[in-house]
């Protein structure tokens, strides 16, 4: 898998999402829970805006000094017995991990949740060299069994309900139990426990790497990251190059923002930290630890007007706040990064060609920008993407012509005045009782969905001129 999920055209994806009542019900109720949770947590803190300011400041500082902190992280990991590899591309990252698997003759790899390994398509790469890869995050495990891509960056199986999950377990794992969440989870736990014990290599993502100590940290509610990092002899962490903080102090702030913004929790049930490999005097930790730092297009964003998109801490608050996402679901974005943040970073990481519709899949209502705990101006980035699409001459011709007309109209009061005068008579033939039900030309797309209000009477400016002639205000 890569960032792009498949080849289905945009309009078909939207239709498929909108017709999927199960998915929409699941997404809508989850959004309701997450949003309410986030808002409650923000209110409880009392000074949420101060926290957001601090979060933004930390991310801005870290990204401004990314080279320094990455070097520090690398030195610290090496000092604690770990190996660090900087991968410029997805292929380089995958090759490095494959080489370890081959060297270790590893049969089974167990993974904790990681978006960046989805991004680079690591599972497929490891399966190519004969390893069995098992996802241990419950949501990811369900999707892996079902061969379905994630539709959300925090709760990847958000689009599925418990009946569908029961069916998947029955079909793929011979499950015979009920669809109560407790029973389903107990079954998954029992199955996964065997995998944890048998795994030769553990692979994790990384929420925040701590430059000062060379630690990587992971946030989970299931504790599976503990198992992945504690049981196998070899642990490999794959991180996006921006997923780093200077010290534990900044980590504490960001993790507080992350869990509150993501699901409305003060903290998740587990925060796993791993610092290098087991040293001689230590009693636990993996025998071998590798840190793979993935660029895969990120450094191209550094120093551009989109740099703040790299501030993202993958909490999905923007996704949970987005009304467009609620109606079409994650798969409609055709990116493993859906929703507003996905619409911003997907074209940056993979280009506009395959993703040019995404910046328009937003009403620019700014619910995303308001929800973001590190204050990424998401809706402004979407506007900037639209500008680039226009600059690259990728916008539809009819739209370009209409906008040329707009410029002439908006910059020339006499043309504007004429249009104000002509609007009512021009729309007369289509108007009935003040409403237009079947509009002509560009109005058609509007009236396909809703009525259009015909001009009430004369324009305001005509009325105002008349009033002045009649002697001004009352």
């Amino acid at each position: 898998m890569s960032i792009k999920i498949g080849e289905v055209p945009y309009k078909e994806r939207i239709q498929k999402g909108i017709k999927d009542d199960f998915m929409r019900q699941a997404v809508s109720s989850a959004q309701g829970r997450f949003r309410t949770g986030r808002i409650t947590q923000a209110e409880e803190l009392g000074n949420w805006e101060d926290w957001r300011d601090l979060g933004e400041e930390i991310r801005t500082h870290t990204l401004e000094n990314l080279d320094y902190y990455l070097q520090q992280l690398s030195e610290q990991v090496s000092r604690r017995g770990g190996h660090v590899f900087f991968a410029e591309t997805a292929e380089e990252a995958n090759q490095y991990v494959k080489d370890i698997i081959l060297k270790k003759q590893a049969k089974k790899v167990v993974k904790a949740k990681s978006m960046v390994t989805e991004e680079i398509g690591l599972n497929k790469a490891l399966e190519e060299v004969g390893a069995e890869v098992v996802e241990s995050d419950l949501g990811e495990w369900i999707l892996q069994l079902d061969e379905d891509p994630p539709s959300h960056i925090v709760t990847p199986a958000l689009h599925k309900n418990k009946q569908q999950i029961r069916e998947t377990f029955a079909k793929k794992k011979g499950y015979t139990g009920s669809d109560t969440p407790e029973e389903l989870a107990a079954f998954a736990r029992e199955q996964l426990r065997q995998d944890f014990l048998a795994a030769d290599v553990g692979v994790t993502g990384c929420n925040f790497a701590i430059a000062e100590s060379g630690s990587i940290t992971l946030v989970t509610n299931e504790g599976n990251a503990e198992m992945v990092t504690a049981l196998p002899d070899t642990v490999i962490t794959v991180m996006g190059m921006e997923r780093i903080v200077p010290t534990w102090e900044e980590m504490e702030v960001l993790v507080s923002l992350l869990t509150r913004a993501a699901v409305g929790q003060k903290l998740t049930s587990y925060i796993t930290a791993l610092t290098g490999a087991r040293l001689d005097e230590e009693v636990d930790g993996p025998e071998e630890f590798h840190l793979v730092v993935v660029d895969n297009g990120r450094s191209k964003i550094l120093g551009t007007e989109f740099q703040s998109a790299l501030h993202c801490i993958r909490c999905a608050a923007c996704i949970n706040a987005c009304p467009v996402y609620r109606h079409i679901g994650g798969h409609a974005y055709n990116s493993i990064y859906p929703g507003p943040i996905g619409a911003v970073i997907t074209p940056l990481l993979e280009g506009y060609e395959d993703h040019k519709e995404l910046p328009y899949a937003s009403t620019l209502c700014a619910a995303c920008t308001e929800a973001c705990p590190v204050k990424i101006p998401l809706h402004e980035h979407l506007i900037r993407h639209r500008q680039i699409i226009v600059e690259k001459n990728m916008a539809p011709t009819a739209e370009k012509l209409m906008m040329k007309g707009f410029a002439a109209w908006g910059s020339n009061p006499s043309i504007y005045n004429m249009s104000a005068k002509m609007a009512k008579p021009a729309l007369g033939p289509w108007t009935k009782d003040g409403m237009i039900e079947n509009g002509p030309g560009p109005l058609k797309a509007w009236t396909d969905v809703r009525d259009f209000y015909a001009p009430q009477g004369q324009s305001f400016r005509s009325w105002f001129k008349q009033r002045q002639k009649d002697g001004g205000s009352k």
Partner: protein, 238 residues
């Protein structure tokens, strides 16, 4: 106090009553109001679609039209929030940067102007009916005007204001979004229409005709009886 009315192109051309009510309210509270005829559109349709040069053409016209105004007041949170963006858009432009800053600093949405500048919270208006209020996205999130319209509404005699469920959700208008993504827009506006119906209000009040014509147009199509009404029409009663 001298105030220049910014009618917004939408109200000027389609909903003249909204601009007229705004004018009359401003005059009622003692403002001396002029209407610069050179004004056109804030530029948002082009700006939000990514047509920066085309948007700037209209924006420059607006700055020229209101060059000599002390205050610029209009009946739309969305259009006024666009005017407030000009300094950001013209940053680094030696000819327009300073003018954009000066211009943005004197622009206000009508309820914001009444409550924050004139310190008026009760216009002595009377309006009978059960109403619900849709707070438009740009007005509350970009302009930061949230409570002002409600403060004014609560002080209208006869008004029964009921809360709109998921009030903060976008109605699905989004300018060209409504015609570029009609299928998604339809789902959004239908959901909004359902929420309005749940309130059993007779009127849906808003401070942005863009949202109101979207929701109202959908409710008309669905045969719902709820009427849309701009807040200035309620405030401009005695």
């Amino acid at each position: 106090m001298k105030v220049s009315l910014f009618s917004t192109c939408l109200s000027d051309i389609l909903f003249a009553d909204v601009a007229r009510n705004t004018l009359e309210i401003l005059e009622r509270v003692g403002c001396e109001v002029d209407y610069p005829m050179e004004q056109t559109c804030c530029g948002q349709p082009a700006y939000n679609s990514g047509y920066l040069q085309e948007a700037k053409a209209s924006m420059k016209q607006m700055m020229k039209a209101f060059r000599h105004s002390e205050y610029v007041v209009g009946p739309s949170g969305s259009c006024v929030s666009m005017l407030k963006e000009y300094p950001h858009i013209f940053a680094g432009d030696p000819q327009w940067e300073e003018e954009a800053k000066a211009f943005a600093a004197k622009c206000y949405e009508i309820t914001e102007f009444l409550v924050d500048v004139l310190d008026i919270t009760d216009l002595g208006s009377t309006f009978k009916g059960r109403v619900t209020f849709h707070s438009s996205c740009h007005m509350k999130r970009l302009l930061g005007v949230k409570e002002q319209p409600k403060i004014l509404l609560r002080n209208v005699k006869g008004v029964e204001l009921v809360e709109l469920p998921w009030e903060e959700d976008c109605c699905g208008f989004g300018g060209t979004f409504a015609v570029k993504n009609p299928v998604i827009s339809q789902e959004m506006v239908s959901e909004k229409s359902r929420h309005v119906a749940e309130t059993q209000a007779e009127y849906l009040v808003g401070a942005d005709m863009g949202c109101l014509m979207n929701i109202g147009g959908r409710m008309e199509r669905e045969g719902k009886k709820v009427k849309i009404i701009h807040i200035t029409e309620i405030l401009n009663t005695h």
